[in-house]
Subunit: 468 residues, 3 copies
């Protein structure tokens, strides 16, 4: 009998052939070798795979948007969700077709697992923001590091209520921040440099997070006579987030030593301490009436805590400042091809920067999407905001009382339609906005009333948005 | 009969051994398991492999150069391909041994493939440029974001002439830019923020690309009386690239509303619109006479289009500005160890910035390489430029008429010799340049005539260059 | 006999089954196919694995620290290892609990192996430094590129004493720099832009490295009369490192043309050239008495070489400047759970910046760690520095003579305890420092004597530190 092994250059195959003709049982020896090689491959691949999946070693995350926002003369139009007078105190309007910038976050992660099972995650975020359309923006850009922290989890030495806990230190965005995407507004946004402890787990449904964040209050005026002296301090924020099932209760206390030496509006009565709190519900349906989700939150703060979203970030707040905000949004499907996402956010604050001032605003916004193909959907956004701002002349701002409305239509391409959070998207858009002339008087660095931006506006543009 | 399985810890091997002695056919059961494991491995590896290859997930690209350029006293010498008076209007000379900077582009990509097959590619480019040799350059560097865009291809919902099309939006270098490497000059360089559609395919040999780019004209003087007012506008560029086999026809139209309010040379007659066009041929031999490649292009532009390379980037152009440029280069082998790459670029423009000005220049350059070992080659570059610039006093520049010559010899190490585009390279170089004294008078921010740089020069240095 | 192949969709399994029943020997044909698939998998995996391991393609490295350093009022405290008067001339004290900043290095590598075996390694380092605790630091940060170089090794064309050599060019930290971590001080730190040759190997125990580095001396005052003129030059540094077993002998010569035109203290007598040298021993035990390591070095420099650590980085040095430094540290275990790392560094220099000045300082530091669990250890650091600085009024600095002491206790979490170099770490710390009042008078940009920092101090904080 003639038998030839072709294209076999390995000892293994020779051994198999040998075994076949030697009368020894086939397989044991050969399978052992195959087995060894399979095991080796499986083990190697088990080591390699977490790297490809981003579970170990380096991984890359991003948020980015970039596009053109033009008026009907083909020149850049002002824009952004905070473009109205209310924007200066947190009152965002819708962002679709309303963003003039290139903003991006490049997030570089590095993850390791120690022999004892403890996981470590280093995260570096570099961010940039510019309204220049040019490719070379070394003079106009703002490249900077927003996060650089380490977080440990699965700690081998942690037991009991700390068994699932993780600890972190460095500069970061707090893990529990969450947002209303269409408004480019977080419910709460807490960030700074510090350390913390997450997921102290008391029971299946009760867990708590505790952190200390520092923020720098830099170069503020501190001499009411000369208005030339400046000073610095740190705002230290103790934060706790407590989860009871779907309910979240956040409480923040903060203190900035000597911030009462800060000169605001000619007087030194800035807040030195503050507290704020948020009660939130994270719903896993659309208000119980259909599939989707909803989130609702009530926020209240005093003193340095009267900036209820950007926790501890505003050092100009008056010692008696009080703010209350409510925010709610939900997403659902109206049909196989229509999606709906309405939201409301409103705030009232008084004695905010100066004794006797009063700020009130309410934003209503709805995002609507109509899926029309594998890669295409029409998106619509309507936004309406009403405001009554009594500034007492703070920073030269005039009192205003009026409303603002915007409607946008945006033909949108995406790799796969299917949800509000599917990205990337490539959009074109046309937007019509109109507002009360009175709002042009505010003059608080907001867009309304700027040159060529005094009344009703058509704007046009194109944009990409991505996150992963 | 005695039989022992050694170093076999898996059930599989035991099952095989069992089968052998039980009289059951060997292989079916065992092979099934081996088959399962092989299939699992093959599938896992098929998921992992595209990540290692950079076809999915994160990947990294780079262009970078860094080195020293010194005069014969050991001090930094001015340099760069645009160092002559003609450089101020695009007339580059050779770059070998003529670059004083560290310039780099770090390109972070992230690619995904949706379930429906649509591909998405996010690209972020961070770039830096500095002439400081120090390691800490926070004051001298220029770190900025030059690209941040998303491109979709293989779109599931695209058919017909759009079946192979891709779409993009964000900030980017246009995909169809191409260059003469030895001159550090693109034939065309179009970049900005916008959106576009690539590869609309009409037939096997005919396809077209269409894009809209915006560029920012920032802070230009706009009041002829006080010369203190500044203004801004956007230059919107519509571009189309049409390919007919090896022939490329590009056409650009652009408009910058109110750019005619710009003050240039004391008058407000800057162009508000422009057009330009390029007819190019991409040859896949060395002008038909030997293996290699060649590219030739004729460019013409008017108004804002009279800057025919950096499309739409120069807002100072006069309303009647006209430019015509021709460029050609090729590469070939002279023998197994000698490579040759000659090129010519020339431009004439008039009424460019001021009524009546006239700029003419021509550059001839040849790069020659002699491969002398696995990792070593000698590189030579000769460059000659003649120019006749009649500026009408624009920006205080004097009229000049003369020529400039440079010759460089560069012993070069590389991982593997073999072609003009093999990188990285590590070079040493010595360069001799000489020019007409008259060119020192131009004073347009160019190097010629600067302190210690008034006549013939020897320069020396070392440099790395890499791209991947 | 009934026989069914289940869940087998590949021709392979069918072939096996066929072979079984055809009477042909089992295995040969089947094993060949399994063999082919195994071989293919092994080959694919061999290509993929180096990417996951960072041996080919992209990889990511980091050094980073970020934290809060607060005084007992909750405000940021000055800090850093160089916070004393002696710090202005290199006299660092301990860093534990003494760092107020976020400092990070993001290192992006790309490695390739050519067909001929030559390896290339591109390294880009982006670094940032800020003392702001805020997340948005575009005004306070310092993002810049510190390294961008290419290094070739395993060169196919190199033989003899160059067989193991590698060559590099670009901007980099020299490969032979080494440090005392607890002091945040290198023994030598050489960095700049240039090129070099590493690992010229003369015998098993003798090898040498040669490099040329340029550094930029930028915008220094160069007109003693008006004090308005500024000038630039380059400091070119030739460096050689020679290793004889555990002994390292480094020698640096440097020259900065026209640096003698620099005005320092009203006169133009700055050094134009310099030399320095280091003799070091890298011990692989704790001074021969126990397991661990130690390093000891004697450094001496003159003229521009009188800055013996930051080689060639200080252009203000006087033409007759002379410095001598000695540094020694070691690490060992005192027991299973205690680790010890003592060090001493001292320097004397005279005629450093002005004729007749004299600087002397000595730092003693000990780091002690007590491992108390899988993830936890207590760290202690004691630092004592004595200094006698006679400045001759250089840069308005007063003469000072006194000492400084600091003690820090730092509860520390890490993924796995086990050594001084195990990172990441998350620490809390409390630190007490005290110093002679006289040191407050120095006024050389150092922290001592600043507002709220005039005497003994308690400081507190938290920090993460990581490298990989």
């Amino acid at each position: 009998m003639s038998f030839r092994i072709t294209s076999c250059h390995r000892p293994l195959a020779a051994a198999v052939a040998l075994a076949l003709f030697s009368g020894l049982p086939v397989g044991a020896q050969a399978q052992e070798s195959v087995e060894d090689r399979l095991s080796a491959l499986e083990q190697q691949l088990a080591e390699v795979e977490p790297h490809a999946r981003g579970e170990e070693g380096f991984s890359f995350n991003t948020y980015a948007r970039s596009g053109l926002l033009l008026n009907n003369e083909g020149k850049s139009a002002p824009g952004g969700p905070y473009l109205t007078p209310a924007g200066s105190v947190g009152g965002a309007v819708g962002r679709l077709g309303n963003e003039p910038d290139t903003y991006l976050e490049a997030i570089l992660n590095y993850k390791t697992v120690a022999d004892n099972g403890t996981k470590a995650h280093y995260r570096l975020m570099i961010a940039d923001s510019t309204t220049s359309s040019n490719d070379w923006t070394s003079d106009d850009g703002a490249l900077n590091v927003r996060q650089a922290y380490v977080e440990f989890s699965n700690l081998a030495g942690f037991t009991g209520i700390f068994e699932n806990a993780s600890i972190w230190a460095g500069k970061r965005f707090d893990r529990d921040n969450f947002d209303i995407h269409w408004l480019d507004s977080d419910f709460v946004f807490l960030a700074g440099t510090g350390a913390g402890l997450y997921d102290v787990t008391f029971s299946d449904s009760v867990r708590s997070n505790f952190s200390l964040y520092g923020r720098s209050f830099l170069d503020f005026p501190s001499d009411p006579d000369t208005t030339e002296g400046t000073s610095d301090t740190d705002n230290l924020i103790l934060t706790a987030n407590n989860y009871f099932g779907n309910v979240q209760w956040m409480i923040n206390g903060m203190s900035a030593a000597d911030n009462d030496e800060r000169v605001v509006g000619g007087v030194t009565e800035a807040a030195e301490t503050g507290v704020n709190t948020m009660l939130a519900y994270h719903g896993d349906s659309f208000f119980g009436v259909s599939d989707g989700n909803f989130k609702v939150a009530l926020l209240h703060g005093q003193g340095l805590g009267a900036e209820v979203k950007n926790i501890g970030a505003d050092g100009n707040l008056y010692e008696d400042a009080v703010s209350t905000r409510v925010a709610v949004y939900g997403t659902t499907r109206l049909s196989d091809s229509w999606r709906l996402a309405p939201m409301i956010m409103a705030e009232t604050s008084k004695d905010r920067y100066l004794d006797g001032d009063e700020y009130q605003w309410l934003t209503f916004n709805t995002r609507l999407a109509n899926e029309l193909g594998a890669n295409f959907e029409m998106q619509y956004e309507a936004s309406w905001q009403v405001m009554d701002l009594d500034t007492q002349g703070y920073e030269g701002r005039a009192d205003v009382d009026g409303d603002y409305a915007r409607f946008t239509i945006a033909p949108t391409f995406k790799p796969q339609v299917g949800g509000f959070w599917n990205r990337p998207e490539i959009r074109m858009f046309a937007s019509y906005s109109t507002w009360d002339d009175e709002l042009n008087r505010y003059d608080g660095g907001d867009a309304l009333g700027q040159e060529d931006f005094g009344g009703s506006q058509w704007t046009f543009g194109t944009q990409m948005e991505i996150w992963f």
